[in-house]
């Protein structure tokens, strides 16, 4: 941290990057888009968390009457959907945007405008889905919306329409981003940055993009079927017509399980950057870390039915999926132990990011092990759809993904803003989070095994569940405090934080050679990479400031443009128009769809036909 004091702030640099709302609406700079992703996702985290807090208030005691049953069902549905699709995924996307080009020594992503498009689609999609609260018709089918409950016959309200249209919109965002990053990582690596020198975060991101590209089409189709059933009276999920209600479950989980690795691998990547830095040792078993991730991703496509052991697939299928599921424990274990041995023999500094990273290693292991317990079908028949499962996925999702992402926030905040976050507040934030999350989720193992089904609005008194639920609720309230502390820390540090140099943590990877924050073009000179940790091996020197603008340096940068925003907006409106169908206004719906489809196509053409940058 010695550098922090001496380092000149970026304001010293001779030019000023454009500021103001318009510059943000039209930006195609991957760093700014990353920032937009980050702040939007954190806002939704507050929302999803408040939904969780209301759930916990309702469950604080037996036979609670804080909210109605219907509201409760909307709350857990939106809580799950929000946390998965509007918090963890976009927060990961924030780091993809911020880090991938910096880590591979590129000046931007392969398709800067497509990148902006992805963000705007995400923003509009998330707003659309949550607009349902305003008309009191928030989705209420559970985050995996099992049919036939979600078919028109059993859910005739707009609730499910908001849900499925919202997910369709968000899917577009993820897919567009995935193609973009795949191309970026394959094709924009600096000289010498061969695949086996790539920072592990970029590797994890790379793997995740393939998971996205292969998993999302499946849920898209599943949702299309549901959409057609609801809007056009098709029969994909109509048991009476001979359809199998389980089709949805299969398609959803073919997407759903890869999805859970989409949620965890970015966090794994961040931790794989943090641990070496603060142990002052390179990552232990780099190659194996890469291969295990690829293996996890691959196996991840062959385990989906472990979410369906209770439907009665028969002994053969149960066995098949039990074994594949257990196998995944092995590559994941390799990661855990490699992390521990990264620290082994190191010189560990317990900074806030390091604390969060270590917490991930410890807490994810708990969730992983309970996962392996679910993997045994006969035992799972006593676990599935109880709070034991809820405990599992909060340990992997909160103890894993969330902890890793917070580590990333504290670790990269200096690179993003040029300021350090407060270690004192950070320490409070961490310890509160750590204690509170265990208070919340550990008791759920018990309430589950004591026979508490999940997604229950109330539980009866005298079933031995009171104490565990009370503790869970208190834990949740404490988490709220922790989160507010974390937000406060981020907010105040933007002004009050100590000035961060290019490499405040003394890290080894390429991104730390750029000034904090990096100039729009990242690297005035495209670096030549000679090792995995160029900053440690003297392959790179840190550039503390970058006085010149891209123009002065003659670096071609993409022009800002508002067009992607419009395409995203019109696409969202086009799908949103479908809602009118169930409001008994089919003609209006069709009119809306056509109008916005045309507008979308026009703005798309005008986007595609304007060159990315000025000729030079």
């Amino acid at each position: 941290m010695a550098t922090a004091a001496t380092a000149p702030a970026h304001v010293h640099s001779g030019y000023h990057e454009p500021t103001g709302v318009w510059s943000w609406l039209t930006t195609v700079d991957h760093k700014r888009i990353g920032a937009l992703y980050l702040y939007t996702a954190l806002a939704w985290f507050a929302v999803g968390g408040l939904e969780a807090v209301m759930i916990r208030i309702q469950l604080q005691g037996p036979n609670g009457r804080f909210i109605s049953a219907d509201t409760y069902n909307q709350l857990f549905t939106m809580h799950g959907t929000t946390m998965v699709f509007l918090v963890i995924m976009p927060m990961s996307a924030a780091f993809f945007n911020l880090l991938i080009p910096l880590q591979i020594g590129a000046r931007d992503v392969a398709f800067p405008r497509l990148n902006a498009f992805s963000y705007w689609v995400y923003l509009f999609g998330s707003l659309f889905m949550n607009a349902s609260w305003l008309i009191g018709a928030a989705p209420d089918g559970g985050w995996f919306g099992y049919t036939p409950l979600t078919t028109y016959q059993y859910s005739s309200g707009l609730n499910i329409d908001f849900w499925l249209l919202g997910l369709q919109i968000l899917g577009v965002s993820s897919l567009a981003a995935a193609f973009n990053f795949i191309t970026t990582i394959i094709n924009m690596r600096a000289p010498g940055m061969n695949l086996m020198r790539m920072p592990v975060f970029t590797w994890m991101a790379f793997v995740v993009q393939f998971l996205l590209v292969l998993a999302f089409p499946v849920i898209t189709i599943a949702l299309v079927f549901l959409q057609f059933d609801r809007f056009f009276g098709t029969q994909f999920y109509q048991a009476a017509a001979g359809a199998d209600p389980l089709l949805w479950q299969h398609l959803f989980w073919i997407f759903g399980h890869p999805e859970v690795y989409i949620l965890i691998l970015p966090a794994f990547g961040l931790v794989s950057e943090v641990l070496p830095t603060f142990s002052r040792k390179p990552l232990f078993g780099y190659a194996v870390m890469v291969y295990s991730a690829i293996l996890i991703a691959f196996l991840g496509f062959g385990v989906w039915a472990h979410h369906m052991f209770a439907v009665g697939m028969g002994p053969v299928a149960d066995t098949l999926f039990a074994l594949t599921t257990m196998l995944i424990g092995i590559p994941t274990g390799v990661k855990i132990f490699n992390w521990i041995f990264t620290m082994w023999g190191g010189d560990i500094r317990f900074t806030t990011p390091m604390k969060f990273a270590i917490a991930l290693v410890g807490l994810f292991t708990i969730g992983g092990i309970s996962g392996v317990m679910h993997a045994s079908p006969p035992a799972d028949l006593q676990q599935t759809d109880t709070y034991f499962i809820v405990a599992h996925f909060h340990y992997v999702l909160f103890g894993g993904s969330m902890m890793g992402l917070w580590a990333g926030v504290y670790y990269y905040y200096p690179k993003l803003t040029g300021k350090m976050m407060s270690e004192k507040l950070g320490s409070w934030h961490f310890w509160l989070t750590f204690i509170a999350m265990n208070l919340t989720f550990m008791p759920m193992h018990w309430s589950g095994l004591l026979g508490m089904p999940r997604r229950t609005w109330v539980y009866d008194a005298g079933q031995g569940l009171e104490i565990w639920n009370l503790v869970s609720s208190l834990g949740a309230y404490l988490q709220a405090v922790a989160v507010i502390l974390g937000f406060w820390n981020m907010w105040r540090s933007r002004k009050a934080g100590a000035v961060a140099g290019a490499n405040p943590w003394g890290a080894g990877t390429l991104e730390w050679s750029t000034p904090s924050p990096p100039p729009e073009y990242n690297y005035a000179v495209i670096p030549t990479v000679t090792s995995r940790y160029p900053m440690w091996d003297g392959g790179m020197q840190a550039t503390e400031s970058s006085p010149k603008s891209a123009k002065e340096l003659g670096i071609p940068m993409p022009n800002p443009t508002i067009k992607p925003l419009f395409v995203a907006l019109f696409m969202t409106l086009m799908l949103a128009s479908m809602l009118l169908m169930h409001k008994g206004m089919p003609t209006a719906a069709v009119a809306g769809i056509i109008t916005f489809a045309v507008l979308m196509t026009l703005s798309l053409y005008s986007w595609l036909l304007t060159p990315l940058e000025d000729e030079h």
């Binding site: 193609f179 191309t183 089409p217 057609f228 199998d244 089709l247 005035a524 000179v525 030549t528």
Partner: protein, 229 residues
């Protein structure tokens, strides 16, 4: 050495650094996209096959449907001869497409195809691109005909599981063809306005890759849906 490399790289500061693989961004993207499309159509086809023979009422693809299962006896609905022709049309469109790409790539060497009227035709990218679009449109025409006649024979998307999964699957493919046709027409417009040459080969190449993929998907559909009873 690092500094030496940096100095060398300094030149790169102006203009774009060469891509790592020497390949074009968009070509990598389109292949990744095609990979993704594999899963999309797999979901559709799997659903169709999973529901094969599970409709509770007719019309059926390959079997006769007799009362009481159907109000009146209904003949197998799939029209193999017609579909075989449309399949052939789509295959030929792929041929036209590759010819079009070759024409664009070789614009800068007039006479590459030899002499005579046939060579002239081969060298005209416009002919081939327009031909591809026309053949694609013809395929769509066949599909429109097929759909309407099915509806007249009482098979709608709501009628039974076969109807739902069949129309959705082939409809999704048809939508892909439609997009392809629009894409080709756009290329044709560009070709007419400023002429497509080797430096635009990529534009045509990615459109071609997409087009051929839509074609191979149909190859699978034709066998799995139409021919296998």
């Amino acid at each position: 050495m690092a500094t030496a490399a940096a100095a060398a790289a300094g030149v790169v500061g102006h203009g774009h650094p060469p891509t790592t693989t020497g390949l074009e961004h968009r070509k990598i993207a389109i292949w990744a996209f095609i990979g993704s499309e594999c899963m999309l159509f797999t979901s559709l086809i799997s659903t169709y096959l999973a529901y094969k023979g599970r409709s509770v009422t007719g019309p059926f693809p390959h079997e006769v449907c007799n009362p009481p299962q159907c109000a009146t006896t209904m003949q197998p609905i799939l029209d193999i001869p017609v579909t075989s022709v449309s399949t052939f049309v789509l295959l030929m469109s792929s041929l036209a497409m590759v010819m079009g790409l070759a024409a664009v790539q070789n614009k800068d060497k007039p006479g590459w195809a030899g002499t005579g009227w046939w060579a002239r035709i081969q060298e005209s990218s416009r002919i081939w691109i327009m031909m591809t679009a026309i053949l694609g449109a013809t395929f769509l025409g066949f599909q429109a005909y097929e759909f309407t006649s099915f509806v007249h024979e009482g098979l709608t998307i709501r009628k039974n599981l076969f109807g739902s999964s069949f129309f959705t699957l082939t409809g999704f493919h048809g939508a892909h063809v439609t997009v392809g046709v629009l894409w080709l027409l756009t290329l044709y417009a560009i070709d007419v306005r400023r002429g497509l040459g080797p430096k635009d080969a990529l534009l045509v190449d990615i459109a071609a890759l997409y087009w051929h993929f839509v074609d191979v998907v149909w190859i699978a559909i034709f066998t799995l849906v139409y021919l296998i009873k």
